[in-house]
Every structure is written in C-alpha cells, then in structure tokens.
Amino acid sequence: MIIWVTIGLSVTAMGILAVFFTAVLGWANRAFHVPVDPRIEACVEALPGANCGGCGFVGCREYAAAVVCDAEPVDRCVVGGQACAEALAAIMGVDPTPSLPYRPVVHCGAHTADRLLRAPYHGEPTCAAANLVNGVQGCTYGCLGFGDCQRACQFDAIHVIDGLATVDYTRCVGCGACARACPRNIITMAPFKAERILAVACSNKDSGKDVQRVCKVGCIGCKTCQRTCSLFTVKDNLPSIDYDAYCPDDLGDAIRAMEKCPRHRIVVVGKPSAKDLAALGDEALPDVVTPDFKTTVDDTEWRG
C-alpha cells in the first residue's frame, strides 16, 4: 500500500511541477517573443550547412545573419561556391559577383626520401609539436608530414602521402582549415582559374647551396623561371606566381619555364587530368573499406 501511495504522490508532484513550469515558460515565450527576419532562415537553407568556418564566421547561421543584417558579401561561402552565392544573392536581391574557387596549394614537394639530415623524433606526433623542436629534419621550411592538416580537414581531402601533405582536389571544398592548421604556413589558398593551375612546390628561402644540403628537390633560386616568363618573381631565393596576371589560356612561357626548371619545382596542381585517369585505369582499384569500430584508429591528437 505505502509503495503505491509513494508512486502516486511522486507522479502527482512531478505532474503539478510540469504544469506549473509549462505555464510560466509558455507565458514567457509569448511575452519575450523576438521577431526574426525570415530571410535569415532562407539563407541558412541555401547555405550548405558544413559549418566549416571558411567564410570567417563561426558557422553557417552566423554567416547568414551577417549577410542579412550587416550586408556582408554573398560570395563568402567557399563550399557552396558560385551556385550558393547566386542563391544568396536571389534572397537578398543583389547582383552576384563572380567568385573564383580558392583551393589550397602545398608549397613543398619533398617526399621522405628527398629530405636530408633527418633526425629520429620520438615526441608527440603532430606538426605543431615537432615544429617547436629544432632539427627534426634539415629543411626548416618544408612539410613535416605529421598530418595536422589531415586532422583539421573535415572533408577527407588532404592526406600525408609518403611524408608529404597532398591535396585531393576532387574532394576539397576550399574551407582553408588545412592552411590555418599548418604550423609552417606552407599551405596557401590560391585562386583556381582553371581545373589545373601551375604552382611553386617549395618554400625554402635559403641560398641554393644550403638548400642542396637539406633537400634533394628544393628550389635553389636560380631565377631561370623569372628570365623565361614574366609571371614568376624570385624574391628571397624563391619564385612566386602572380595569380592576378595568370591566364589559363595563354601559358606558353610558363610551360617553358616549368620545363627549364632544373629542380622541377614548378608543378601542375588540381583535379586529375584525363591523361592521369587513363594512366590509372590499368591499376586495380583497392576494395572500398567499410569502417570497423574495432580496427579504426581513433584520430585524437593525444597519444601519450
């Protein structure tokens, strides 16, 4: 008997509390109602919802609010690209400005075998930690290969392959998380005026002699590219490409410079060309592996 009375009283007490709080909160909801601009909801719908932060805001909702309330440009979303910018422009009633897709370019081309003067490193296996230590490898500019960019990427689009961060441009959406994660700042966001563009795959600013001591492939600052093509400017022993003047249809001089480069540091990056795909066509594709919770390694950074 006592148990039933206890249960009955408990249920009644909770029920009365629930009714009381429902009444109070229901009243507060109407009394403190905030009108929200319906365009914000429409913008959130039009955005991809990746919440990657590539636009410079915390998430898609914050960017949508900024577009509606603070007249922020509509072309900031790198994931949605041109289609998303047009959708936002239609909602806001403004003209969409053409926006180029920005994609990351890794300014290093050395794989493990190309790097010299490497020392055994037993510390925390992250680039941020290894970058604090002097002498992990000879080159103080190049990719460390511990994969901070790989862990930062939400889209599985950058991988450390044989000690070098390599972008998978078929998956990349250009959010820039890898560029922010790289402690050596060798990943930059470049405007892709075509599917495949030229890039300089080295970041070493030391003189040619010092570069040859630490790397088999690094740029030695010989200025051949600068003499061959006006797109290249060598500063601090390192060429850079003027992407504003870059025209994908007229690359004669630049292609010649690429062929002349003694270290082959001017490379083509971007989505795989038809030729690359044909070359891969003969190789057997690995089976698609389904994740297994018993064998999949947790990607948390701390493994101490």
């Binding site: 009283l9 007490a13 509390l17 403190f32 109602h33």
Partner: protein
C-alpha cells in the same frame, strides 16, 4: 540575534570563506569558458546568481513541504489512504535530484528568453554557455546544500527556513560573480603577456585559478572566529566554571 548572526555567517561563508569556485571547485566550466572579458563574466555571474536564487527558492519549497520525510503536504495527502504511522514513512526525497534539475532547467530557459529579448548582445556573446548553466554544478550544489540542511536534520529548530536558503543562494551567486570577474580581469591582462606557447589558453587559466584558490584559502577559519566573537557573552557566562583540561582546545 542568533538568527542574524547565523544569516551573516551563511552569507560570508557562501560568498568568501567557502566560495563555490575556490573552495568546492564547482562551476568550473563557465569559470574557464566565459572569463575572457570582464563584462561577459559579470553578465554570466548575474545570470548564475539569478538562476541560483530561483532554483533555491523552488527547491527549498519543494523539499520542505513535499519531498522530505514527514513533509506536511505529503503527510496530509498520504493520510487519506494510510494510517498516520505508515504515512510518516512516505519518503519522496528520492525525487530531489530530478525536481532540482527540473527547476534549474526551467529557470535557465526563462533567463534565456529574457536575455534574448532585452540583451541581444549579451545573449550572442554567451553562445552555448547560457544553456550550459542548466548543467552548472554550482547551482545543483546550492540546491543540494539546502537539501542537506532539511533532510535528516532531527531538530526542527535547526532546519533552514526560506530566508537562510535564499541567503545561501544569493551570496553563493555573488561569490561566483566575484570569482569569475577577478578571473576575467586577470585574463584580460594575460592577453598582453608573453605566455609560453604550451601554456596559452586553458592551461594558464587553470594555473591562475589554482593560485587564486590558494589566496581564498586564507579565509579558512574566519567563520569560526566570527561566531565566537559575535556570540553574546551571556552564553559564555552560563558555561560550567570548571577549568577545561589544559592544552586540549575545545572544538
């Protein structure tokens, strides 16, 4: 008079001597998360104080009249079906946690709606930390402290009344505000300091919090001293005139 002294000691204890953050280490997540700027920290402190007061009032009322063993309302209703002796055994204190969380969550919802309407800037800067007050252990801690002064206290005169419960909540909230504002002030200065890379962000904040807690430990024992100093001497005069055993301090 004794009641006033009691209130004073509860207030001082909650705000300074047994500060929720620096003595009991409850409510650490807003303490670290929202202590970047002083005005945000002050807003958070006010929100926590408000929620704590509401939650303390509701939980005291519920505990005193419904939940504790022998609570009048429960006794009266149980008396309809049971004889008085069995009715005294009805114990609803099993519900205490769920009722407290319920009260806290509802008051947080209320504060959130209020802030969203009247302080949109503060609302935006709080972000996720405002709903997180729901799971702020400092508030549940205040409710549980009040419960411990009601349930299991045999002497009816020693049970806390609503005034004591509210004083604990308000001054506990003020202590929380004080702690988080001091912390925010220090962290604003830290922004300009050359902190070694591995210590930046949360680690240096935790270290600063620990040093602050050590400073607040200096208040330990002040409440006992105050109690002795404020107790009317008449009570001392009535003490037995025999000499206490030498060297043995009376607790």
């Amino acid at each position: 008079m004794t009641y006033l002294i009691d209130i004073l000691l509860i207030a001082l204890g909650a705000a300074l001597i047994n500060n929720f953050i620096f003595y009991y280490f409850v409510g650490i997540c807003p303490f670290i998360g929202v202590s970047r700027r002083v005005e945000m920290a002050f807003g958070m402190g006010c929100a926590v104080t408000f929620v704590m007061t509401i939650a303390a009032a509701i939980s005291w009322t519920m505990t005193r009249f419904v939940l504790m063993p022998g609570a009048p309302l429960t006794q009266w209703i149980a008396g309809w079906w049971l004889d008085p002796q069995t009715a005294a055994g009805v114990d609803l204190s099993i519900l205490s946690y769920i009722v407290y969380i319920f009260a806290i969550a509802a008051s947080v919802q209320f504060v959130e709606m209020y802030l969203r309407r009247f302080f949109p800037l503060l609302y935006r800067s709080f972000g996720v930390f405002l709903p997180l007050i729901t799971t702020n252990c400092a508030i549940l801690f205040a409710c549980l402290t009040i419960m411990s002064r009601l349930v299991g206290v045999d002497d009816p005169a020693a049970r806390w009344d609503l005034g004591q419960a509210l004083v604990l909540a308000i001054f506990g909230g003020l202590g929380f505000t004080l702690a988080i504002v001091i912390m925010a002030g220090i962290r604003e200065e830290l922004e300009a300091c050359d902190v070694p890379t591995p210590f930046r962000g949360a680690p240096i904040a935790l270290i600063v919090g620990g040093i602050l807690a050590m400073a607040f430990m200096g208040f330990t024992g002040v409440d006992n001293g105050l109690k002795t100093a404020l107790t009317p001497p008449a009570v001392v005069a009535q003490a037995p005139p025999t000499e206490p055993p030498s060297g043995a301090p009376t607790p």
